[in-house]
Each structure stands twice: as C-alpha cells, then as structure tokens.
Symmetry: C2
C-alpha cells in the first residue's frame, strides 16, 4: 500500500476468521477505518467482526451513521458525508478502509457509498475487496449445496413480493431468500403450498456464535426469526 | 483442531490473499491436503493458490484426479477413491483438508465428494469452510454491484440453454452467466438482440494476474474467452 487510497473491504459474515487474508492485511495497514452503524449508540457488526485486528492507538476508527430510513434525502446526505470524509483523508495521504458485513457489492451499504464517492470524488483511487457473503456461510454451516452442474440459483430479498418468489421457485433449482423476517409467516405458507417446505433450510446469524439452523415444517413454524435470517430452498435431487 | 476431521476448504478464486483466515489456519494445521486435478500431469489451480502456505516436508499433499468426463461410473469411482482416502486418514487421527477453487458449495467438485463421503463414511466429521467465489471476485474487480435493495440476482451456467438465460434476463435485475466459453458467440447474439450487451461486463480469470475485464459490444465481440470466464449482466439504474 504505497499510495494513499480507499478500500471497500467486505469483512464476511461476522466471524473474524471469515475475513480474507487480503482484508486482514488492508485493515492492519490502514490509517483510518470507517464502519457503518444503523443507529447512534448501536455497535457496528462489521467493526465488531474485525476489532481484534485493529489498533485504536495508531488507527483512526470512525463509526458513521447510515440511517435505516426510506428518506432519500437523509440517506444521500449520510453517503455524501462519508464520501467527503474518505476523500479528505485519502487526499491527506492516508489509507482509508471502509468495511461492511458480507460482500461489498451484494446488498451492501458499500454500493451507495462507492457510487457517491465515484461521483463526488472521481480522483480518489478505490479498491474493492470481496467478502464471504451470508449465503455462502449459511450453505457451509448447513452443508447444503447451492448449485451443481447446470443448475440455476436465484437470490431474492423476500420483501420483493410473493409473486416474484413463486416465479423464482418455478424457474430455479435453488432459491435463496434474504430478509425473511418481515414476511416470515407468508413465506412459510407459500413454501408449504408449493410443496417446498421440506427442502427449505433456515439459517439465522450464519457464522456467528448465535447461529441457528432449522429444517422442516415443525422447526420452521415454531420460530420467530431474527433480522439476519435467510432461507435456502433446494430442489429434490435424484439420489 | 483437537480431534481428527475432514475439512472442505474453499480457497477462493486463485489469489492466495483471497483465502479466508480460517482457511489459512486449517491448511497450515492440516496433516493431509487433498487437491483436485482435472487431468493427470496438469497443475491443480486450487493447490497453486495455497502452495505458499504449505510445508511438503511435514504435510502429505495429494493431487487426486477428478476426470472431466460425462461417464457417471468413472466419476463415481473417482469420488469414491477420494472419499476412502480421506476417511482412512481421518480414522488414523489426521486432519485432512480437501481444497477447491471458489466456494465448496457453488458449482464445485466438493459437492460430489462431500456427498460420497457422507454416504460411504457417515462417521467422519466434516466441516465446510466457505470461500470467495469467482462471482464476488469478478464484481469487485469490475466494481459492478451485484444487487441492492430488493433486486434479484440469477446465477446460470450459460450452457444451461439460451431459453433459460432469456427467461432469467426478463425476471432478474442482475444475471450472472458462468461457463460462457462454449456458447460465447450465441450469448453475444442473445445479449445484443435483447438490448443488454451495453450492460454486460465480461471477466476472465477474476482475481488472477491474468485477469481481463471487457465491456461493450466491440471489446466483447473481438475476444476469444478463456475457460474461467463469466459475465455480469446488469439492469440500467436510474442515476
């Protein structure tokens, strides 16, 4: 890391060991770490995942509020603030790493931040370091293949609508449903009616000490899911 | 790693730095490393990615032939041979890591090997360690978001058929096409006709020193793709 630059680092699902070696090198070498928080005073999941690698004596560690709001003005302001902060420090010769849970380009705050940074400060060099997503982590934890041979995989936030989920179930061998919490009951009904509940695995907080893996109608029906939950719906394979 | 066990370790796309810290710990601590090769005498891409971490004086490094054949009998025999080899060494008290490029559960030889091992030797404890897939690596290299908000992503081996690809393009904001080499010309025609070629990024050998990123009709049309190539087809986003 000779020249000053910004790095978007995916830290993986939360387990510090699921960070890549490259992510570790960049975070240890960075002058500034920028971590997102959804609410003031709340811990940053991404920061907690890498805290053991950081040195608060030497590194500037900033938590920046990316509010969970539908107000586009407030969101844009928050991204702009973070982009300015990054650009200012890179121009001062510093290595700046902004971290997010999972992968920086798959349903991540990083996408908006990268876009704002590119638009507002196109001179700032940026490198993106991929991270292990919750999908690969959940599949590994549950030992469920995501796809083999010529199979198709669809990834859908469950909040996108039951019609879209139904379509995806028909057309793909594996469907990964993210953000299942807000529509959990509806989802279980849909999976039951389409005969896929028996091929569904539910994974909560994949890769964390609080990880839960549930299978089958009975386990799934009795559960109140967490915010960080997903489902992998497989097709039955010939033995 | 107290008790003997088998580990399926995804080593990532080929860049040794894109291995996880957990993968590194397991590979350094393993007594036996089993790496797949597609042809006798050929190097193992997975083994090359982690070779700098291994100690051939202390560790047994085995390359096992998983032939690229459609003959189910020959394939089953190869998986059975690997599963037996792993089970035998774990029973002798050894830590055995079998490695594959990318993620062990996403279009990987590991899936078949894990299945055979589970069927033939259900007593052998197995842990799966997720790896960075070529998809996340390609997206990071090309700085292309895979999905945000409620967008859908489809992953399809391009050899699955043009009709399935067309369907996926209609129903998903992002479509990732794998194994594009055998149908490259046909694919370009389809993307051109459906007006999506302008939103297509082609990535070859993502995360390796020989990585190539191509965009736009002209660059794509003039290229002869490599075996390890994929395309990310995005939807145009409102600015």
């Amino acid at each position: 890391m000779a020249t000053a630059a910004a790095y978007a680092v995916g830290v993986g699902p939360g387990d510090p060991e699921l960070l890549t070696r490259k992510g570790e090198r960049i975070l240890r070498g960075a002058d500034v770490i920028l971590a997102p928080v959804a609410r003031i005073g709340e811990p940053s999941v991404a920061l907690d995942a890498v805290r053991e690698l950081l040195d608060p004596e030497r590194q500037e560690i900033i938590t920046h509020l990316f509010p969970m709001t539908a107000d586009p003005g407030r969101l844009a302001e928050s991204w702009q603030g973070a982009a300015d902060l990054i650009a200012q420090r890179v121009r001062a010769g510093k290595q700046v790493a902004f971290i997010t849970i999972g992968d920086p380009l798959l349903y991540s705050t990083s996408i908006y931040l990268l876009r704002t940074l590119g638009e507002a400060h196109p001179d700032i060099p940026v490198e993106i370091v991929p991270g292990i997503s919750s999908i690969n982590t959940a599949a590994a934890a549950a030992a469920i293949p995501l796809a083999e041979s010529e199979e198709r995989v669809a990834i859908i936030p469950a909040t996108a609508g039951m019609d879209k989920i139904m379509e995806a179930l028909v057309r793909n061998e594996t469907v990964v449903l993210l953000k299942v919490k807000p529509v959990y009951g509806e989802l279980l009904d849909l999976l039951q009616q389409s005969g896929r509940l028996g091929n569904t695995v539910f994974v909560e907080r994949a890769g964390s000490p609080r990880q839960k893996i549930l299978r089958g109608a009975e386990q799934l029906a009795g559960h109140a899911p967490d915010y960080l939950s997903l489902m992998i719906v497989s097709s039955p394979h010939p033995a």
